[in-house]
Point group: C2
Chain length 244, copies 2
């Protein structure tokens, strides 16, 4: 069934409007009698379109679905700014994998630099990509998309009891996989992944001290930054039992 973000409802009825309304009527050409899923940040409903008028599609709730798409664990990804469309790729796939929030990091070796003027455009675009991925993958809550930040800002952005891990290619002994076995999933977890050239030694050391981040290895191969991000999210959400 097609999924739509609902605009409002009362448990017996819900309605769609705006982009979701246009997608339903103009692109998919669905009308009265069609069965769809409507979701908001709390739950999702199976509804039957009862009527379409004045830019709204009204649906009668047939059943309420359990919010099975939302992971129980809160796993944040803080990813060094990458060139080209790699941030968007990591964001889209991170949403599917179950990431709780996404922080683009201005890191020492980031070739891509934050552009003050384009910050808002970028962020709006990222929120759109995240919303589309949420809709496609069966989640009900969009992960939080933060503005481009530095690693030092993380404690101000994320919950106070967040536990930090930093993927660092110079860490040869401590494996992320092994560390995950000891994680308390009631606490949020944040994974820091460097830009194309990785974190500098100074960054890694400072994050270890100031964020109490644990530096970890993702294995013997050199993963591209976006690959490392997706592998780390998969490992963490897998270990939390949120990937089957």
């Amino acid at each position: 069934m097609r999924r739509f973000k609902l605009a409002g409802g009362n448990g017996e009825m819900f309605w769609l409007e705006g982009d979701e309304f246009r997608h339903l009527t103009t692109v998919l050409r669905l009308g009265a009698g069609a069965r769809i899923v409507g979701f908001d940040g709390d739950r999702s409903y199976v509804g039957i379109i009862a009527g379409i008028e004045d830019g709204r599609a009204w649906c009668r709730v047939e059943s309420t679905l359990a919010a099975t798409g939302e992971p129980a664990a809160a796993v944040y990804l803080a990813l060094g700014l990458l060139k080209g469309d790699k941030m968007e790729l990591a964001l889209q796939k991170g949403v599917e994998l179950g990431m709780a929030g996404f922080i683009p990091l201005a890191a020492a070796r980031s070739v891509a630099r934050p552009d003050e003027r384009r910050q808002e455009t970028r962020r709006a675009r990222r929120e759109k990509i995240a919303a589309a991925a949420v809709k496609q993958c069966g989640r009900i809550r969009a992960p939080e998309i933060f503005p481009t930040s530095e690693w030092k800002d993380l404690p101000d952005l994320l919950p106070r009891d967040t536990r930090y891990f930093l993927a660092w290619e110079e860490e040869k002994k401590r494996s992320f996989r092994a560390e995950l076995a000891g994680v308390d999933w009631a606490r949020p977890l944040a994974i820091l992944i460097g830009p194309e050239g990785g974190f500098t030694r100074a960054e890694a050391m400072a994050a270890t001290v100031e964020l109490k981040a644990t530096p970890v290895s993702l294995g013997a191969r050199i993963l591209r930054a976006e690959t490392a991000a997706l592998a780390a999210l998969t490992m963490a959400l897998g270990a939390a039992g949120d990937l089957g």
Copy 2:
């Protein structure tokens, strides 16, 4: 240090030629005295460029490196043909994650169809992508790239004792992660991932019987095909101890 696929050597010397030679001399402009890594399918060496002549760069072996980039487990990915550049994306990242071989699958719901005339061009392009990823990530052996096949062909392509898993969205109980705990890593493992619309019920049932494939779930969210491929490879190679 820059990594180059070597053309030949004897343990004390090795040489580069062809594309690797041109990359070294024309693009990177490295000359006598520069320290590089040369690798073949068995090991990799640190060498110092001793001389450049007649389209060959001769290097003196300084030390032999352990082949740490190669995973111990053999994990194959059979992926339904996808639209656009998604096959290439899964291939590139699959190489980094440590995949042993890549089989593009012509599946019932593949929108992209194999094009007989372009088969060879496609395969050559895929081999080039794989070779570049091998070089970048620190592996020494390129994964085998198979021509587009059907799932029925898999037993003829892969080692006889290969164990098959099939990611199937209708499988709600059996988790891939849980199944991996019982895997014997001395045997090759192959993961089958459907195209955009997933495998049909008929395909899944037939693969279960004929390949003795175990249908597994990757969790409650609907992952795009290429995301599912990378998540499954991460889980498998992670469980095998090949991702740190």
